[in-house]
């Protein structure tokens, strides 16, 4: 039993790192424009299907699809940004409905292009088991975990040290003041959506190598990413990582100790508990009340 729990904790941390990438993309777009992109999970899904496309057509390893995924997902992300930018009235409400509609379009476009079958990598290299004492993982999971950590580090550095990263933070903390300092907010928002798209590309390809994907996964990922931002607040990268790992571990433990049917329930209950009991998130984010 102890080994099972250890294994669940371990698997939960591994999948949690990819959830963190998804959630960081959502948080970046939210920080820049104060809108929740309800199609963000579909961007990740799109990248996962690019990996499937490349692997099934060329026989290359799924990670060879990264350039294609980056190109396609970034293009869609920018198109999405331009559409959201066209909204004039009732921005908060209408942007929710618009991104939700784009999510429906993307899910069904993927359904039309790739059918509803579940897909995962066929790479023997990625599916090989690796053991760490009593716990096991697929090599793909370890690579995805390492990749996530590296990307989070890069993102942290970018936000902290680069001009664009600092401008992103400036716009998200005070748009007006940032404009007065000579920052063009629209340009910065475009960059935020580009980076969010890039994170989604890596997350999608990683997800394909360690888990199964099907069109309905996109919506579920959006919800998970949103849950994580509620757990962590949108303030900090380590917070998002911890929130994501908490969600991954909760899900994995539920599957191990109860049943896989309850996996989604566990995430939702965790979400509502934090929302109601700790309205500022586990790590003290900014207020989310109207």
């Amino acid at each position: 039993m102890t080994e099972l729990i250890l294994q669940a904790l371990f698997s939960g941390v591994l999948i949690g790192s990819v959830y963190a990438l998804v959630a960081l993309g959502l948080a970046l777009a939210f920080g820049a424009m104060r809108i929740i992109n309800l199609a963000h999970g579909e961007l990740v899904l799109l990248a996962a299907y690019m990996a499937y496309l490349v692997e099934s057509r060329t026989g290359l390893e799924p990670y060879a699809a990264i350039p294609l995924a980056l190109a396609v997902v970034s293009a869609v992300s920018i198109a999405l940004f331009m559409l959201v930018n066209m909204i004039r009235d009732h921005r908060e409400l209408n942007s929710l409905i618009l991104t939700f509609a784009i999510g429906i379009i993307l899910t069904n476009a993927i359904l039309l292009a790739f059918a509803s079958d579940m897909r995962t990598t066929t790479s023997a290299f990625l599916q090989d088991a690796v053991s760490f004492g009593d716990v096991y993982a697929m090599r793909g999971e370890i690579i995805a975990f390492a990749l996530s950590l590296v990307l989070m580090g890069l993102l942290w550095w970018w936000l902290k040290a680069s001009w664009y990263g600092r401008a992103v933070r400036a716009v998200s903390s005070n748009r007006g003041a940032a404009m007065l300092m000579g920052i063009n907010p629209t340009r910065i928002e475009t960059v935020s959506f580009l980076v969010a798209g890039a994170l989604a590309s890596f997350a999608g390809v990683a997800l394909y190598t360690m888990s199964v994907v099907q069109p309905a996964v996109g919506h579920a990922l959006t919800v998970k990413a949103f849950i994580i931002t509620v757990l962590a607040g949108v303030g900090s990268i380590p917070g998002v990582f911890l929130g994501a790992v908490l969600l991954g571990v909760t899900e994995a433990l539920t599957v191990t100790l109860a049943s896989s049917a309850l996996q989604e329930l566990a995430g939702m209950v965790l979400f509502l508990m934090v929302l109601f009991l700790m309205p500022n998130g586990l790590f003290g984010a900014r207020a989310r009340r109207g």
Binding site: I36, L83, M86, I87, R88, D89, H90, E92, L93, N94, L96, I97, L98, F100, A101, I102, G103, I104, I105, N108, A109, L111, L112, A115, S116, H219, V223, F226, V230, A261, L262, E264, L265, M268, V269, F271, L272, L275, F276, P279, R288, R289, G290
Partner: protein, 330 residues
């Protein structure tokens, strides 16, 4: 309430609108629509009722819900179980089911403190939780296998509601009734206060309006209406399973319909739901058998971008341009 007050609330114009709805609604019967067509129209009217309840919360309460399936599913199970296990007459079980859905909405009261996306996603979480609970509580609901043995709509005074024409008239009547309730509330003090809250919640609280209480009422009423239409649908379909009763369809279709028709008007969500559902079932499905919802997504995105007030807003704009008086109402 005095006569003058009630006549102000239910003006001739809104009664004319209700009458118009009934007349237009009865046209398919007069034209001798096929049972298949009537079946589609019944489903579209169920969605119209659900759309009204969504728009009531979205327009008057200022809250976008992505989880109206929660109330719809609770209502459908409550009514089926009340009728099957306790022998409650179906026509009584339907409003009772609305009451059960209202009770379930009380569990969501803490979510009312949340703004925008947080509220929308919290309601979505409830819908998921209710679906999983309905699957797990198999001693009561029959679990994933579903619920089949429960009474259909009855025959009252020789009028058979179980038959297509009867069901259609009943659902149409319910939609018109709910539309009138919506109109009355919108014109009342409560409606004025809610519109003020939508403009500025803080300012409204300062002048002594209990905004949380008003929002609570809107949530409860919205749940009641959604629950009743869930119940109606259950007795008409005669079969329930958690994945159907709590399906995302019941959350998504009312939004698309209401946005298409114009969720800031009363007639918009009704008209929008009927048009969108018929478009989806008759046109989209024949064009793209699997994945036909992509067309709905395109319609939804297009409407938000090009006509955020829906068809009702477009029509209003045309009338005001041609010199007619148009009062924009929130």
């Amino acid at each position: 309430m005095s006569d003058t007050a009630s006549s102000r609330l239910l003006s001739g114009r809104s009664l004319a609108m209700a009458g118009g709805l009934v007349v237009v609604g009865l046209l398919p019967l007069a034209a001798g629509a096929s049972p298949y067509m009537l079946g589609l129209l019944i489903s579209s009217l169920i969605l119209a009722g659900l759309g009204l309840s969504w728009a009531l919360l979205g327009n008057l309460g200022g809250m976008v819900s992505f989880g109206h399936a929660a109330f719809f599913g609770v209502g459908s199970y409550a009514s089926a179980l009340l009728a099957a296990k306790l022998g409650v007459p179906v026509l009584l079980a339907i409003p009772l089911a609305g009451g059960v859905a209202t009770l379930s909405s009380l569990a969501m009261l803490p979510a009312l403190r949340l703004s925008g996306p947080y509220f929308a996603l919290a309601i979505l979480a409830y819908a998921q939780i209710f679906r999983i609970l309905a699957t797990e509580a198999s001693w009561l609901t029959g679990g994933a296998a579903g619920l089949q043995r429960f009474p259909g709509l009855p025959t009252v005074f020789g009028f058979n509601f179980a038959e297509r024409h009867g069901s259609y008239v009943l659902v149409l009547g319910m939609v018109v009734l709910c539309a009138l309730i919506y109109v009355v509330i919108r014109r009342s003090y409560v409606g004025i206060a809610l519109r003020a809250i939508a403009e500025s919640e803080d300012a409204t609280r300062v002048v002594g309006v209990n905004s949380t209480l008003l929002k609570t009422w809107m949530l409860m009423l919205s749940a009641f209406i959604a629950g009743m239409f869930g119940a109606l649908n259950a007795h008409i379909i005669g079969f329930l399973e958690p994945d159907y009763a709590f399906s995302g369809i019941w959350s998504v279709m009312p939004i698309i319909g209401a946005v298409f028709g114009g969720y800031r008007s009363v007639i918009g969500p009704v008209f929008g739901a009927v048009v969108i559902y018929m478009f989806d079932q008759v046109i989209a499905k024949s064009l793209i058998p699997v994945g036909h919802q992509i067309l709905l997504g395109i319609v939804l995105a297009g409407m938000v971008l090009l006509a955020p007030n829906g068809l009702a807003g477009l029509v209003g704009r045309i009338f005001s341009r041609t010199g007619g008086k148009h009062h924009a109402r929130a």
